[in-house]
Point group: none
Chain length 182, copies 4
Amino acid sequence: MRADAARNRARVLRVAREQLAAGDDSLQLNTIARLAGVGVGTVYRHFPNRHALLEALSAERFQQLVDEARAAAAAEDALAGLHRMLRFSLARALDDPGFAAVLESSGDSEARTSVMKAELDGAVTELLDRARRSGAIRGDIEADDLRRLICGIQHAVRSGDGTSRYAELYLDVLIEGLRPAR
Amino acid sequence: MRADAARNRARVLRVAREQLAAGDDSLQLNTIARLAGVGVGTVYRHFPNRHALLEALSAERFQQLVDEARAAAAAEDALAGLHRMLRFSLARALDDPGFAAVLESSGDSEARTSVMKAELDGAVTELLDRARRSGAIRGDIEADDLRRLICGIQHAVRSGDGTSRYAELYLDVLIEGLRPAR
Amino acid sequence: MRADAARNRARVLRVAREQLAAGDDSLQLNTIARLAGVGVGTVYRHFPNRHALLEALSAERFQQLVDEARAAAAAEDALAGLHRMLRFSLARALDDPGFAAVLESSGDSEARTSVMKAELDGAVTELLDRARRSGAIRGDIEADDLRRLICGIQHAVRSGDGTSRYAELYLDVLIEGLRPAR
Amino acid sequence: MRADAARNRARVLRVAREQLAAGDDSLQLNTIARLAGVGVGTVYRHFPNRHALLEALSAERFQQLVDEARAAAAAEDALAGLHRMLRFSLARALDDPGFAAVLESSGDSEARTSVMKAELDGAVTELLDRARRSGAIRGDIEADDLRRLICGIQHAVRSGDGTSRYAELYLDVLIEGLRPAR
DNA sequence: AATGAATGAGGGTTCATTCAT
DNA sequence: GATGAATGAACCCTCATTCAT
């Protein structure tokens, strides 16, 4: 990729991220192009449609999650690692509703997304298995369930006032609910 | 209300319900008018905006929930009543995503909705209080939290394949998470 | 006319006048009906269309103008009477742009309007003739020209800030312009 | 500006001018787009609203007026220049009611219009000042008053049959009215 | 590779007028 | 006579996407 092309791509991604963070989830490509100081055509060259842009935006966050999951999997205490992982995921999903949408979706339009999702689920499955072996986690919940549940929690938090008070509380409900039945 | 007005209103509501059930949540007033065989103006007369229509659609389901909550509150066992109530709420929210949207929203545009929400929360609060006194429910969760959490669970179930297998599982996670910390 | 019909007609006229006075010249029959506390159908029964309402509104003012013109024609000093008449006409036209529209229009849709216009022009013609005989007014201006010129002045005043400063000034320009050429 | 953009802009302006000339002052952007053979979006890109289009239409005529006013100001006889200027303005306003609307309006939406208006008023003020010094014009009338009065006269002429007989006559009334009081 | 003007389907909403009640 | 619900043409404007420059 030419240097200017790469720079433009990065600009577009940055602006798109800022827009989402500012609460505008319409992600209008014309607007993004203007704010990024490039033509619309350039945006379309890099991202054939809105969804491709969303997925590209998610890729970076996905990588963070994978890294976090692997770090957690490498830690001594699997349960603590899992909790850390869940808290981290929720925070990222709250940061970026677009990312949450990709995280919970089952049909990805870019192969890369599916790959990262598989990697994430793989790392989380390891964590879950270890935590389960020590009796800390119920047996009927899998990595993809956790992805969906975290997004559900994100949804609930967002429909309140979105403050961390709700995030902590609802996350705690989830965490308690993951224990084996008494 | 005049007979023809009532008939048109009912038609519009029926069509809107069908649209939502068919997975189209755009709820376009022109489209609905056409399908209902009435003029657009008629739709606008009855429902000044999309949200008003959504709320009207929800009113009936809301009443069901209020009835259920009161029945549960009247029952002997508060915890069992609460669980029944949660299961019922989740089922209704899964039936109708529009209803879920109104259920979790904090800003209602029709006073009637707020009234019903308050009635619902009142009945659930009674249930919660009784269940709490018997030590079965954690102390930091209120009726509005439950509304949001159920909608979050609905969201998670829907992002899976929406089958009752997920509904049962995720609901159980929520229910377990509502117990007092061990 | 039945008493209630007359009462409704009067109400509609009153509300329409208030609307115009408030600067809303859209004269929406639905709005007027609502404000008057009658059904739209009732408004339509009395006034088949917007224009009919406008003309009805003008009738009363027209009568005032005719009265004023006759009073002026009866006075000793024709020129002073004419000036008084012009000032009065301008004030009424500024009060009510709808009236100004009827006043300047050449095609009336109600016979009654044409009759009053003829009466007005008749009285003004008398004034003009007398003033002309004493050499105070140029010979090439007729009553209908005066109607149009007053409405033109009203237009000019309105496009300024509409204050009486402009009204006085522009009226004075007109009055001076009506003298015989030097 | 790109060649095609300029071509489209010109087409839109031409069609709009034709519409106005044909007596349709509604200036509907969809209609204009269709007649101009361009998409609605193109019209909106060039002219965000009706008024912007009107002002653009007026720009050319405005320039003519400014030129005329300057030519008149350069002439020997200020009064003759002023009269020529008034006659010219009235003719342009009668040609194009849209232009008249912009000419008399006090709130411009495009800076360019305000600039041209200021230029026009500046040139006319010079004329007025010179004519006043020779005692030919009353002292209480300014350039903006003249703009409004000309538009008022245009209004009056138009409400007659619009022929030049009225134009000449009413303009003469105005011109006579601008002399100092006897 | 970049640009941004153009497109036009598509959705929104209003309101003069009719007509069933 | 009165009512006001219903009508639907008509207008508004946006924005995802294409393609000439």
